[in-house]
């Protein structure tokens, strides 16, 4: 199977560097998949799970917001965070989700609302990544 070069970088570390066969992730407009020799694009990346196929094995991770650049069979992600499913603390993610849900009900000002939405999305992405792995 054709492969492409994949780099996933976060502010704290270079989270992944190597060849991959396929990567599926979310943009603000929905999920997309990228395979080898994709046309060049720069796209916004939304907080959600990513599925990464490499040597025929599918791995799941949760990633934060950021961008993805595709040029000449090289795919670069610059995202605020990335954790493999087995690195995620499920209990913590669940608590964060519940906290955000409670705050959401209290309905503060607009900025507060946007922040709550963001932390909810972060928690949800982590929970999803953990659960996909268990399926």
């Amino acid at each position: 199977m054709n492969t492409f070069k994949l780099k996933i970088r976060t502010p704290e570390r270079s989270a992944y560097e190597g060849d991959a066969e396929e990567i599926i992730f979310s943009t603000p407009e929905g999920r997309i998949g990228i395979m080898a020799n994709h046309m060049p694009i720069i796209t916004a990346v939304a907080e959600n799970t990513v599925e990464l196929k490499c040597d025929g094995v599918m791995r799941t991770a949760a990633i934060g917001q950021g961008i993805c650049k595709v040029f000449r069979n090289e795919v670069e992600f610059d995202v605020s965070s990335m954790e493999w499913a087995d690195e995620i603390d499920e209990v913590r993610a669940k608590e964060a989700y519940e906290r955000a849900a409670i705050r959401m009900k209290e309905q503060a000002d607009r900025l507060e609302h946007v922040r709550n939405q963001a932390s909810m999305a972060r928690a949800l992405a982590r929970l999803k990544a953990v659960n996909v792995q268990h399926l």
Binding site: R9, P11, P28, M39, P40, I42, A44, Q65, F71
Partner: protein, 291 residues
């Protein structure tokens, strides 16, 4: 030094020895943290460089994309906010006083007048308040090992000031770390920034498409850029504080050792004088008996 009493000199030497020990411990702690801070800076560099470069590419391909964060240079009509990065702890030589002097100059001598000044670290905050600058005392960020989390909190607050139109520009004053021997307070503009400041776009792939739209990608990039910029400043300032502390403690240790040498000499002299006097007295006494 009018110390002829050996006991007095001994007590003084003991106290200096303790001071030197404290200075030494401070120095070792600071020195070990510098390496860690520099690794953090290096680790975050590829991410931030790419964010900045993507903004450059986007601006080169789509100059029509409007964002209030990119634009003309600072006009006199600007109402900027400022962030000053100082420290919470002393024992760092001239680190804070240099920064405060520089900040006062920067914040009063220019055509634009700051509408709000945010300060990290209470030493800088107290000093700038006394100078009568519009310091926001409700935001008391503490200085600790820099993290993306801190940078995120600060950048969120700055963006909220921008959103409710309190400010229309932002600058950061911090101590830049060039090398252990060269630390300098600098003022850098965070926004609005001239498009050139994002650097060379490099090879432009004109067939690249921005999804969902160039505007949406720009909207995603700007907060990341601001957060990353602040993170870099936090690390620079943290490293400078540590380096400044190492130098200050080195001086303290050297001065302490010099003083110990002098006191040691004085102690020996006093001891000798006491012995000589005792011998003189004994001899005088013996002579008196013999007579």
């Amino acid at each position: 030094m009018s110390m002829n009493n050996t006991g007095e000199i001994k007590a003084r030497m003991k106290s200096i020895r303790q001071t030197v020990q404290i200075a030494n411990a401070q120095k070792l702690i600071a020195a070990s943290r510098i390496g860690k801070a520099q690794k953090m800076l290096a680790d975050s560099k590829p991410y931030h460089d790419n964010i900045r470069q993507t903004i450059a590419e986007l601006l080169a391909l789509h100059p029509e994309v409007l964002t209030p964060f990119v634009g003309d240079n600072w006009k006199t009509s600007l109402r900027p906010g400022f962030l000053v990065l100082s420290s919470d702890t002393g024992l760092a030589g001239g680190y804070n006083s240099n920064l405060v002097k520089f900040s006062e100059q920067e914040l009063t001598a220019n055509a634009y007048k700051p509408v709000t000044v945010l300060v990290q670290g209470h030493l800088g905050r107290d000093a700038l308040l006394r100078k009568g600058l519009p310091v926001d005392t409700t935001k008391q960020w503490r200085v600790s090992v820099p993290s993306m989390r801190d940078a995120g909190e600060i950048s969120k607050f700055i963006l909220s000031l921008f959103e409710n139109h309190t400010i229309d520009g932002f600058g950061i004053i911090y101590t830049k770390y060039y090398s252990a021997a060269k630390l300098e307070p600098v003022r850098e503009k965070l926004f609005p920034l001239p498009p050139e400041s994002f650097g060379d776009a490099g090879i432009i792939h004109s067939d690249v498409s921005f999804e969902p739209s160039p505007e949406a990608v720009m909207e995603m990039l700007i907060p990341k850029y601001i957060k990353g910029f602040i993170y870099g400043c936090l690390i620079h300032s943290w490293t400078s504080e540590l380096a400044s502390r190492v130098t200050a403690m080195d001086n303290a240790i050297r001065n302490g050792r010099e003083m110990l040498d002098k006191l040691n000499l004085a102690y020996n002299r006093a001891r000798q004088a006491a012995i000589t006097q005792e011998i003189t007295e004994i001899v005088a006494g013996a002579n008196a008996l013999a007579e």
